[in-house]
Amino acid sequence: MDNKKSEKDLEVSSRRDFFKKTAVMSAAAIAGTSLSASEDDPAIMHHPKWGQTWGDPVTKNRYGVPSAYEHNVTRRNTKLLASGNYRASIAVTPIHESEGIITPNGLFFSRAHGGVAHVDPNEFRLMIHGLMKKPIVLTLDQLKRYPSVTRTHFIECPANGGQEWRGPQFNSLQFSKGFMSCAQWTGVYIKTIIKDLGLDMDKAKWMLAEGSDNSEMGRTVPMDKVLDDAMIVWGQNGEALRPEQGYPVRLLLPGWEGNLCVKWLKRLEFSEEPWYAKEETSKYTALKPSGKAIQHFYANEVNSTVVKPSPEKPWTDLKEGDVVEIEGLAWSGMGTITKVDLSFDGGNNYVEASLKGLVLPKCWTRWSYLYTIPKGFKHTNGKQLLLTSRAMDDAGYIQPTVQEEVDVMGVESVYHRNGIETWEVNEKGEVNHVQIRKV
């Protein structure tokens, strides 16, 4: 009961605040420019050069590229994660610049274990065998003749945020949470293919997925997922997969660790026993304080982040009384986002944010909260704002605090960190990455 009361109090005070501030807002604040009310804006008063000369012919850029002005919107990498001469490495997505719930193909995060392979689609073959009456080899054209399904799902590296178990390290949304992206995938359910192959359902418990790349990346998948929503995909946001995403074909296990979604796929084998591949033993296992490590840690748990503002997208151009949308992303590999709450004091007290747009299973979900900038970017408690989001999914999971998560998992597990994240807004409106925790 206490919780509900304070939630309502917060909502009422925030709404009252909003109406009060909007009533006294000046025209200059709305315009948000440095010009005084009487000055003329040269951008309006002069013909821009692009309006007075021919633009490009339609014959230019037959495959379109972004505006040259957008050149800072790119994947980025860091030496900390440079393993194998950047061949067993990752380049991360600029999610501070992301719009909606789809990542453009050229910005989708890129992770490889032996470099990005360039597969000749004419030589692509997919072999499916083991414990079945009719093993099968498919060409790309044959694979695409199966009845297709199209689904929008995020893919996340389970090491997203994994550099920050012991404390914040990246003053950047791109590096703190950009080990993930979201796309619309087209392919075929594996259950559609194997129902024709006479698989021994008594014996088949595990499926090996193996890539054709330099590292022959492989992982073991339980039959439960194969019979649920596991897909073999060739389409990404309406076109062929990019090489970085496994062209021509990858496995997609909606909601589960990115590395399980084996790229440059060549082979699926069914077996009674699991495989112990390198990337499910030496890596992608989460060590707990007991000394035991969690293996086969499949699903990326419920998570969220504030996108606007963020260290890259601060509030330095805003001042007291300005009304601004706080916006963010929430996602869960366990199901569908049901609630996102927002805190201004680092996760001590929350108000409920609004979900917006499509809310789909195992997919990025946008959330929003309209907010009036307080004096000095200070909370009513007198301290600088500490913006924290916290998501819930329809499986009933809620993000833990950093402390709650560390109390169970310790700080050495590398993978699957989904504790709430906090941005501190200083008196200039700059945004810095912090964590609220005891140690």
Binding site: R76, S83, T281
Partner: protein, 380 residues
């Protein structure tokens, strides 16, 4: 309900979660949104009434037989079905000694993985000493004391199965030139890994005389074999996984109902931990959200790195900093007969793991400038 799932339900008594999903689906929830737990603790959206979750499906298309492709030949199956399972199941005939393994390691692996597998330069360590001793460090956790020693995770101390090493060396090594080692070479390298990790085979610590074979492979003792949860091997493997992830406490997760989630006084502390010492900010390209036009539109052009030092840092430093570093004395034994062979090896790559042009896309003449720099330590 989908045919395959139904047949599994009838045949397999152990399909606990699928039975649960059936029951949950019948119990309701919002229309067309039946619920159940999947093996990883998440929600299943079964295909029912032409829908899965919010998506419409063509049930007829999914239920009919649409066989494509052909049956692989016996030779094709043999060519691709080369994975190795726990205990060495699937290993080919062959053998290799620790002594041979060391020689191959020195020729093909040391430049990246370091002396005796010590790692460095962005490549993982293969040993940090005795595996059984290393295994004892796995309970180290800089959890309450940030200054404490962390756990030491390497082949001997951490990996549950030796088959993983054999399989990965065969498929993925040497990293710039994979799938070039013979089966005997892989046995020898695996034997050398056992030796530098001081592991036991058939009760004896592996020494320099040891020879690893298909026959004695199953007798390798991995100190951390039982260090993983849930147990995935054996008839109850899948059930173990289902049970493990059905309990959020096992993996640091929290489940609550929407109405009882904490909305006030939720934090255990008000301590703010900030980024220490500036944190990590060597981002490439540097972080910027400017929307100014790049100078000379250079971002739109294919950039050729012509500064040999820059190429070295980007492509070569990770291995060469510790082996034949720029201007090092070690180069003398390679350049005694002139630069021709050195250029050729650099441009074409070597079996020892040097990738062609270090993986760069420079022209031959530009790359020779990089070679000159690595050999002499000076930019001409």
């Amino acid at each position: 309900m989908f045919k395959l799932e139904k047949s599994k339900l009838v045949i397999s008594a152990s399909a606990v979660s699928l039975v649960a999903l059936f029951a949950a689906g019948c119990m309701g929830g919002p229309a067309n949104y039946p619920k159940g737990d999947d093996i990883a603790g998440g929600v299943i959206y079964p295909i029912e009434n032409g829908m899965t979750g919010p998506y419409l499906v063509n049930q007829t298309a999914l239920d009919n037989t649409v066989y494509q492709g052909r049956v692989p030949t016996a030779n094709e199956l043999k060519a691709w079905n080369k994975d190795i399972q726990a205990g060495g199941v699937g290993l080919p005939e062959g053998e290799g000694s620790v002594e041979d393994g060391e020689a191959i390691y020195e020729a093909k692996c040391v430049m990246c993985h370091g002396d005796f597998g010590s790692g460095g330069g962005g490549y993982p360590a293969l040993s940090k000493g005795n595996g059984a001793e290393g295994q004892k460090t796995l309970t180290n956790n800089r959890w309450k004391d940030p200054e404490a020693e962390g756990p030491s995770r390497y082949f001997g101390s951490y990996w549950p199965e030796a088959s993983t090493m054999w399989w990965y060396i065969k498929d993925g090594m040497p990293h710039p030139k994979s799938k070039t080692l013979t089966n005997d070479e892989v046995y020898a390298l695996t034997a050398y890994m056992l030796a530098i990790n001081e592991l036991e085979v058939d009760g004896e610590v592996v020494d320099d005389e040891f020879v690893l074979t298909k026959e004695n492979f199953a007798k390798i003792k991995m100190p951390n074999k039982d260090g993983f949860e849930p147990k995935v091997h054996g008839p109850s493997g899948l059930d173990n996984v289902r049970k493990y992830f059905a309990n959020p406490v096992n993996f640091g997760a929290i489940k609550v109902s929407e109405s009882s989630r904490c909305m006030s006084d939720c934090q255990q502390t008000d301590k703010i931990v900030r980024i220490q010492n500036g944190g990590i900010d060597d981002f490439h390209p540097p972080m910027s959200v400017e929307r100014s036009l790049p100078k000379n539109n250079e971002m739109m052009a294919v950039k050729t790195i012509k500064d040999p030092k820059e190429t070295y840092q980007a492509n070569c430093a990770m291995c060469h900093d510790s082996f034949l570093s720029p201007g090092s004395a070690e180069w003398k034994s390679y350049t005694r007969k002139g630069m021709k062979k050195v250029y050729k090896n650099a441009i074409k790559g070597t079996p020892g793991g040097m990738p062609a042009k270090g993986g760069s896309s420079l022209s031959d003449s530009d790359f020779k400038l990089v070679v000159d720099y690595v050999v002499s330590g000076k930019v001409k």
